[in-house]
């Protein structure tokens, strides 16, 4: 890849695996063994600042400027060597990066680090990681036998974890993970280890964490929510949709469920309680109670104005009267072609609806027959109590395929 071409041109490229476990000499005498390289300051500079050595069975660190590397040998030239004790809180390349999983920010997945690519330009600087099979062969001493292409990722495009704690070691002040799609984060959460999973969640913006958890499989949701510290749990749960909370509560142990209830606002609790009584496969269990409804007397212009203020703009407006009785629906994209002064009751089209006990088959049929984006759910008096979106329907179809296998 391009970064390799770059460093090759400047010479001086070296792999971490070629430097580890090499002796370091003072004059002709072997003084210690180099066992790791630390990046103590900001990870974004990527400068190696300390060298970890093992001397008589103990670990010490040395500043890099005291050690010279020439002709495949490390030398210490200074007279007064400043040894510092090893601090495992710092970031070390072999300890925290080599052979570990990192987040590939471009590919949006977890990859395993087969080697670390360094460049020497006065100081050692991390250029990237090697994730190709060639890296494995090189470390096994078979690199000469099979000369494969190196697959590498630049250092700026990965996020590494702290091996012991599992926290993400962010390099940039801006959190790259919040730019992912929630479903991509969900995939990473499903694949990562227990500590790493929590590290990712705690780093996310609560809104993003809530969305990602909503996309993850039930086992992953359960595993994360039951292990989160109380304050993170609180922040995330407050951003979750009622429908997601209802789903998740079915998976959780009573203690975590109670914790979640304590952190919800009163009206959300009511909604959760109301929805919890429905099984997963009927309209009541699939509907969301947060949908956009508007009174029939509102004008098109007013509605467009309201929509402008919304952060997440809905696709469909459900039109109701003062008693919440369903009067029709209108697609948001059609609003802009309409006379601004007309009221919604004159422009809404008549809507299909189902009652809360409608089975999934009926819902699916209604969606596909009428090409719907949103299906209102009504009670026996035709009052709107919720709405099912096409996304929910697709998700349910997919889950059904995963779980409902015949024995």
């Amino acid at each position: 890849m391009h970064i390799l071409a770059l460093v090759r041109k400047e010479g001086d490229m070296v792999y971490l695996s070629q430097l580890l476990n090499k002796p370091v000499y003072v004059g002709q005498r072997e003084y210690a063994k180099v066992i790791d390289f630390g990046v103590v300051q900001d990870l974004s500079t990527a400068n190696v600042s300390t060298i970890l050595i093992r001397k008589e069975g103990k670990k010490f660190t040395l500043p890099t400027d005291q050690v010279k590397f020439t002709e495949k040998r490390f030398f210490i030239e200074t007279e007064d060597i400043t040894l510092s004790p090893y601090n495992d809180k710092d970031f070390y390349l072999a300890e925290d990066l080599l052979d570990k999983q990192v987040i590939d920010v471009t590919g949006r997945r977890l990859v395993r680090v087969n080697d670390v690519i360094l460049k020497k330009n006065g100081v050692y600087k991390i250029v990237g990681i090697d994730i190709g099979f060639s890296g494995i062969l090189r470390r096994l001493g078979l690199g000469v036998v099979f000369n494969l292409r190196t697959i590498s990722i630049p250092w700026t495009l990965i996020e590494a974890f702290d091996y012991q704690m599992g926290q993400v070691r962010l390099k940039l002040s801006q959190n790259s993970l919040n730019a992912f799609h929630p479903a991509e984060i969900a995939d990473i959460l499903e694949d990562a280890g227990t500590k790493e999973r929590l590290g990712v969640v705690e780093l996310l913006d609560p809104r993003m964490a809530a969305a990602a958890l909503g996309e993850a499989d039930p086992e992953t949701q359960q595993s994360i929510l039951e292990s989160l510290p109380k304050d993170s749990l609180k922040k995330i749960v407050q951003k979750m949709s009622v429908a997601d909370i209802v789903d998740i509560l079915k998976e959780l142990n009573p203690f975590t469920s109670k914790e979640i209830f304590q952190n919800l606002e009163q009206d959300k609790i009511q909604n959760v309680r109301r929805l919890s009584v429905y099984p997963d496969n009927v309209a009541g269990g699939l509907m969301d109670v947060n949908f956009y409804r508007e009174k029939e007397d509102t004008t098109v212009a007013e509605t467009i104005e309201f929509l402008r203020l919304m952060r997440r703009r809905p696709e469909v407006v459900v039109v109701v009267d003062n008693e919440d009785t369903l009067k029709g629906i209108i697609a948001v994209r059609n609003l802009f072609n309409l006379e601004p002064d007309s009221s919604l009751k004159d422009v809404a089209i008549s809507a299909q609806s189902v009652t809360s006990d409608a089975p999934f088959k009926e819902i699916l049929r209604t969606f596909s027959e009428y090409n719907l984006r949103l299906l209102p759910v009504v009670d026996e008096n035709d009052k709107v109590i919720g709405a099912i979106s096409v996304d929910t329907v697709l998700e349910h179809v997919q889950r059904g395929e995963e779980y409902e296998e015949p024995i």
Binding site: D99, R139, R197, P406
Partner: protein, 414 residues
């Protein structure tokens, strides 16, 4: 199914929600190699190897518990943990060990299939190619989860050994006494049978399997105690059945000096129950266990090795998306089958000796498991306790000492 368990029964009895890993792993232990080894042990040495079975029950329970606990605490498979802690060289070493052990196990599964079908006069040159194709398409085209359930239902077959053992009226007092009476002999056959009994009970692949299974199910630390119950129960059931296989064979074969040379002989153990249908019953049970093992072990091998080296892995991917995964699966499947087709290896010997090889190859795996399970940085409060460590060390010593004794016995006059 899974949802139903989780929502309805899961809340009443947490153990039901995660029922599976330990019991499945335990049941799979009684595969083709298991049935063959226990049959030979009972037929050749009567009850005198029961004490080994007694010890390995604890060994199995403890090693499975370690695997489950490490998976639960870290969310990572054993291969990942070895890679992250010991680096690529040791990982490669242990993967080579695992590959050899697993190909041996796969060969044993195919030998089981061939033996079972020989009862119906189908020779191995016909049955093995057919079985390879069947397994290949079941795994790559069909759903693996379906297989698992079918197998679990069919493994109720083992109950026939319990009934048959009772109907043959053994001296139960002597049998139970044999469980706790160590008996050591320097005879070559005794030693190798002893190693095979250990090797068929605790296997390298079973160690990786249990941990991956727990990781896949995303069990959390709160599931630890139900999961412990699951693996303990699984280990107990496995060896409970093994006990009856050995007893049934001791009474029907050892007592009448009938050595086992093929499946028809081993089936005699079921005669007290099934009479003239013993051969058919035995063949059915062996075929079921072997087919499942022949499908499961190549997939498990492929999962673990791709996990260790960071390749795409899983049956959700296509051949082009995960070539290494399918390559390893096919490779281990075909090599295992070819070993069985090879004319110079008798089926029973494959079934039996692969188990002994598994035991020896378990030694390095145990070392890594031991170090990891005592790693404070990694597991903190979920490290091994003292009793668990002692049982692991005893298991290691038992295999190591009997292997060395076997080696020494080669040079002694018989």
């Amino acid at each position: 199914m899974k949802n139903l368990f989780k929502t309805r029964f899961g809340r009443i009895l947490p153990i039901l929600a995660i029922l599976g890993p330990g019991i499945i792993s335990g049941s799979v232990d009684n595969d083709a190699g298991g049935i063959a080894t226990y049959s030979v042990a009972g037929a050749s040495f009567g009850l005198s190897l029961l004490w080994v079975l007694f010890i390995t029950t604890f060994s199995l329970a403890v090693t499975q518990e370690i695997g489950a606990r490490m998976g639960l605490a870290t969310g990572k498979g054993l291969a990942s943990l070895i890679r992250e802690k010991f680096g690529i060289r040791w990982t490669t070493f242990i993967m080579v060990v695992l590959l050899i052990a697993n190909i041996g196990t796969i060969a044993a599964e195919f030998a089981g299939i061939a033996s079972a079908l020989e009862v119906f006069n189908i020779n191995k040159y016909v049955s093995i190619p057919f079985a390879v194709l069947l397994v290949f398409f079941l795994v790559t085209k069909g759903s693996f989860k379906k297989l698992e359930k079918i197998f679990l239902v069919a493994s109720a077959f083992y109950l026939v050994y319990i009934i048959s053992a009772f109907m043959s009226h053994p001296h139960w007092g002597v049998a139970v006494e044999s469980l706790v009476t160590p008996h050591f002999s320097l005879s070559k056959n005794y030693l190798i049978t002893m190693i095979a009994v250990i090797g068929t009970t605790i296997t390298p692949w079973g160690q990786f399997f249990i941990q991956d299974y727990v990781v896949d199910k995303k069990l959390t630390k709160e599931d630890l105690n139900p999961e412990r119950a699951d693996v303990f129960l699984g280990s107990f059931i496995t060896n409970f059945i093994s006990f009856f296989i050995i007893v049934a064979c001791a009474v029907t074969l050892f007592a009448h000096n009938i050595p086992i040379s093929d499946a028809k002989d081993a089936a005699i153990a079921l005669q007290p129950l099934a009479g003239q249908f013993a051969g058919i019953l035995f063949a059915f049970g062996l075929l079921n266990a072997s087919l499942f093992g022949a499908a499961l072990v190549p997939v498990a091998t492929s999962y673990v090795i791709t996990e260790a080296f960071g390749f795409e892995s899983g049956l959700n991917f296509s051949f082009t998306e995960a070539p290494e995964f399918y390559g390893l699966f096919s490779f281990s499947l075909f090599i295992g089958a070819i070993l069985v087709i090879a004319p110079f290896l008798p089926l029973l010997q494959i079934l039996f000796f692969t188990q002994a090889i598994n035991a020896v190859l378990l030694l390095p795996v145990l070392v890594f498991v031991y170090i990891l399970a005592n790693d404070k940085k990694l597991l903190n409060g979920y490290r091994n306790g003292r009793i668990i460590n002692i049982i692991v060390i005893i298991t290691f010593a038992l295999i190591a000492i009997s292997s060395i004794a076997l080696l020494v016995s080669q040079f002694l006059p018989s």
